[in-house]
Symmetry: C2
Subunit: 244 residues, 2 copies
C-alpha cells in the first residue's frame, strides 16, 4: 500500500461502513477469510487499518456489523409493539427475516462463509442466541400467569421454538436465494402458524384471559382457490370495522 502523504491524518470523511463491509465480503469470498488480512480490507475499503479496528472491533465484526444494526432495530420494535407479548415477538421475528431478505448482497455471501469457517459459524449462532435471549426475556417479563419459575421456562422454550422455525425457513432461502420472496414468506407464515399452535398452550398454562379477543368464523366451499379465500377473509376483516 502506497501512502501519498505520510503524516496526513484526514478527518471528517467518516469511514463509509457499507463500502467497507462490501469490500470485505468480496475479499473474504475471493481469497478466504483467514487469508485476508486487515491490511487488505483497509486498502480495499479506502481506510486505515486503525480506523478499521476502531469501527468494527474485530475482523469477524465486519461481517456482522449490519446484523448488529438489525438486532438494535428489532429490540426497538419490541419495546413499542402492539398486541399480546406473543404477537410482539412474532412480528419482531418477521422483522429479522425481512432484514435478511432485504440485504442479500451481504447476508448470502456471509452465509456461505459461515458454513465453511467454524469461527464465523459460532459468531452467527451467537447472534441467533441474542435474539432468542431477548425474546425469552420479553416473554418472561410480560407473559401470562403461572408461577414465575414455570413462566420463564415456558418463555424460554417458546422463544427457542420460534427462533428455530424462523431459522429453518431462513436457511432454506440462504441456500437458494434465487427463489421468489413471496414463496419464502409463504413458507415462513406456515412455519409461524405451526409454532403458534405448539407454543400457544405453553404460555397459557392455566386460564388467564389475555385481554379482549374477537373471533372470525368463516365457512367456505372446500374447492375455493387459496387467493380468493384470503381475499374474502381480508374483506370480512375490513367490514368488521376497526379493532381495539
Amino acid at each position: 500500500m502506497v501512502r501519498e502523504r505520510p503524516g496526513t491524518g484526514g478527518a471528517t470523511a467518516r469511514v463509509p461502513t457499507r463500502d467497507v463491509v462490501l469490500a470485505a465480503v468480496r475479499l473474504f469470498t475471493d481469497h478466504g477469510f483467514e487469508a485476508t488480512t486487515m491490511d487488505d480490507v483497509a486498502a480495499a475499503g479506502g481506510v486505515s487499518r486503525r480506523s478499521l479496528f476502531r469501527r468494527f472491533g474485530t475482523k469477524e465484526d465486519i461481517l456482522f456489523a449490519e446484523h448488529d444494526e438489525l438486532f438494535a432495530e428489532v429490540s426497538r420494535h419490541l419495546e413499542t409493539a402492539p398486541g399480546t407479548p406473543l404477537d410482539a415477538v412474532f412480528s419482531a421475528a418477521r422483522l429479522v427475516l425481512d432484514g435478511y431478505l432485504r440485504d442479500p448482497e451481504v447476508t448470502v455471501p456471509r452465509y456461505r462463509l459461515v458454513r465453511v469457517h467454524p469461527r464465523l459459524r459460532d459468531r452467527e449462532v451467537a447472534m441467533t442466541a441474542r435474539y432468542q435471549s431477548a425474546f425469552s426475556r420479553y416473554l418472561a417479563a410480560r407473559g401470562g400467569g403461572g408461577a414465575p419459575e414455570e413462566r420463564s421456562l415456558a418463555a424460554g422454550a417458546a422463544a427457542a421454538a420460534l427462533i428455530a422455525a424462523h431459522n429453518h425457513v431462513l436457511r432454506g432461502w440462504l441456500r437458494d436465494p434465487g427463489q421468489e420472496p413471496a414463496r419464502v414468506w409463504e413458507r415462513y407464515d406456515a412455519a409461524m402458524a405451526f409454532v403458534r399452535r405448539a407454543v400457544g398452550p405453553m404460555l397459557h398454562a392455566d386460564g388467564e384471559a389475555p385481554a379482549r379477543e374477537r373471533v372470525v368464523v368463516a365457512v367456505y366451499p372446500a374447492d375455493l382457490g387459496r387467493d380468493e379465500l384470503v381475499r374474502r377473509l381480508a374483506a370480512a376483516v375490513d367490514e368488521a370495522g376497526p379493532r381495539g
Copy 2:
C-alpha cells in the same frame, strides 16, 4: 520462566490434559481470562507453550476441552439409544446435565467466566447449538410421518425447546451450585415433562379430515393490526392444507 536445560526437547510424557485445564481455570479465575497469557498457563501446567497450542488449539478451547468430550459421549449415546427417537433425545439431554453436575470443578468456574466475557459466552452458546443441531438432525431423520419439510421443521422446533428447557435448569444450578443434586434433578424432570407435553403433538401432525367444507376459526387480540390479522388468516388457510 527459567528453563533448566535449554535445547531439551522432552518426549513421551504426554501433556496431562486434566491438570492443564484445572491450572488454566484457576489462572483465568484469579487473574482474568484476558490477562492470563498462554505462557502463564504453560508454566502453571508444566508444559511448553507450543505443546499447549498443539493440544488445545486456542486459549478458549482449553476451557471447553472437556465439553468436547462430553459432546462426543452424547453423540455416541444417540446412536445406540433404545426407545423412540424422542426418548433417545431426552435421555441424551439428561446425559449432558449429568456431565455438568459431575464436573463442577470445571463447569462452575467456567460458567462464571462465560458470564463475564462475551467471547467465551459465544463459545458456550456454540456448544449448545451443536447439541441442538445434533438432536434436530436425529429427530428429523427418524421422526414420525408427515411431509419432509414439516417434519424437519417440527424436529428443529422440538430440539430447540428441549435444549432451552435443559439450559434453563442447568443455569439454575450453575448460578447456585451448592444446592442438592436431587432437587436439580427434580426440577429437570418437571421441565422435561413440560417440554414433552408441548413437543409431543408437534411431532405427530397426522390426521387430516377430508370434509366438503372447512371452517376457519381465528381468535385474535382486539387491537391487532389489520395487516397482521390478514396475514395470519392467510397462514391459517395455507396451513390447513390443499383445498378441494
